[in-house]
């Protein structure tokens, strides 16, 4: 399946990087690049594309403004230097993923896989609710042969405990036979982060951070030295 794509970013360096990443994915056909959303709208009035790599933070006309102008938006992957727009991004059905710069090839490939999965599910889509369920806002866990739906934004943290993991939500604690590695692959990186070999947290739920720990509701979670720089990088520090 070949997918046409375009890049919208006001920085030439950022466009060059995304273009290079696109060149590494055989299914992607980069057909054009734009330094402003306005230019891209004119182009999209003439031609359809499958995927847009869109910078959120552009002067005058932001990425979110752009998304709102599209009547039939294609799949959109946001690219940004900020993590604090991640939750807002999930408000839009067309936004499939959210890549924080500098983007690695591994993370880029994952985003493309999400687009492919979403596109593959589309013909089977019966209604809006079905469509959004395939877009990664929740996961199902298997407990006593029951599949229980957990919304990402309700999960506080996940702790590894031997052959099990404990998923702590705002209301309940679930014990699941699985590994942190497996669940990490199912969680959106925009809001989840592994901060210790035994803990993944929803970092939008952090209340405060001390030297070696974070507080999430009433849970004190340790931060390992190796994971601390990534946590600090993703915080919206004042």
């Amino acid at each position: 399946m070949t997918m046409n794509c375009i890049i919208i970013d006001d920085e030439a360096a950022a466009r060059a990087i995304v273009a290079q990443l696109c060149s590494k994915i055989p299914e992607l056909d980069l057909i054009d690049e734009f330094s402003s959303a306005i230019e891209a709208i004119k182009f999209l009035n003439q031609q359809t594309v499958d995927v847009i790599f869109l910078d959120i933070h552009m002067p005058g006309f932001s990425g979110f403004d752009f998304v709102q102008t599209l009547k039939n938006p294609p799949k959109i992957i946001l690219t940004t230097s900020d993590t604090n727009f991640a939750i807002a991004a999930y408000e839009y059905e067309s936004i499939v993923d959210y890549l924080v710069k500098p983007i690695t090839l591994e993370r880029f490939e994952k985003a493309i896989q999400k687009v492919k999965n979403t596109l593959a599910q589309q013909p089977k889509t019966l209604n809006k609710e079905d469509a959004t369920s395939g877009m990664g806002k929740e996961l199902y866990i298997n407990i006593d042969r029951r599949l229980i739906k957990l919304k990402f934004n309700e999960i506080l943290l996940i702790e590894a405990k031997g052959d099990y993991i404990e998923v702590k939500t705002e209301k309940q604690l679930y014990r699941v036979h699985s590994t942190l590695k497996k669940i990490k692959e199912k969680l959106p990186e925009e809001i989840f982060l592994q901060i210790h070999r035994s803990f993944i947290i929803n970092f939008t739920k952090i209340i405060d951070i001390e030297d070696n720990s974070v507080l999430i509701e009433k849970n004190v979670v340790p931060i390992s030295r190796s994971n601390r720089p990534e946590l600090m990088r993703r915080l919206n520090l004042l």
Binding site: A12, A16, Q20, N236
Partner: protein
């Protein structure tokens, strides 16, 4: 002081020499323009507009593996949005460091 490097770009380029050269040429061209624009906005007492440029520059800090500089830029961008420029001198030191580095590549 941490030093800029091209390790991220080299990893992305692999054997693609053309991309490396293209990227270096872009950053050499784009960086001074953004610095000039940043200085112009500050001179005109437009800190909120300067914040927009800092936002772009901080991405370049990231690309050049300047992690501490990136954290400072995040802080400075917010400061500028509030109309303050206390971190300007530290920010300028980073910009000069990059400017020197870009002359070597």
């Amino acid at each position: 002081m941490e030093q800029p490097n091209l390790s991220y770009i080299k990893e992305l380029a692999g054997d693609d020499v053309a991309f490396m050269q293209k990227f270096i040429s872009i950053i050499k061209e784009e960086f001074p323009v953004e610095v000039k624009e940043y200085m112009r906005q500050l001179k005109n007492d437009q800190p909120r507009e300067a914040a927009q440029i800092v936002h772009k520059l901080k991405h370049k800090f990231n690309i050049l593996s300047l992690e501490r500089a990136y954290i400072l830029a995040v802080e400075y961008e917010e400061e500028l949005r509030l109309g303050r420029i206390e971190l300007h001198s530290k920010f300028i030191t980073i910009l000069k460091n990059i400017e020197t580095y870009l002359k070597t590549i």
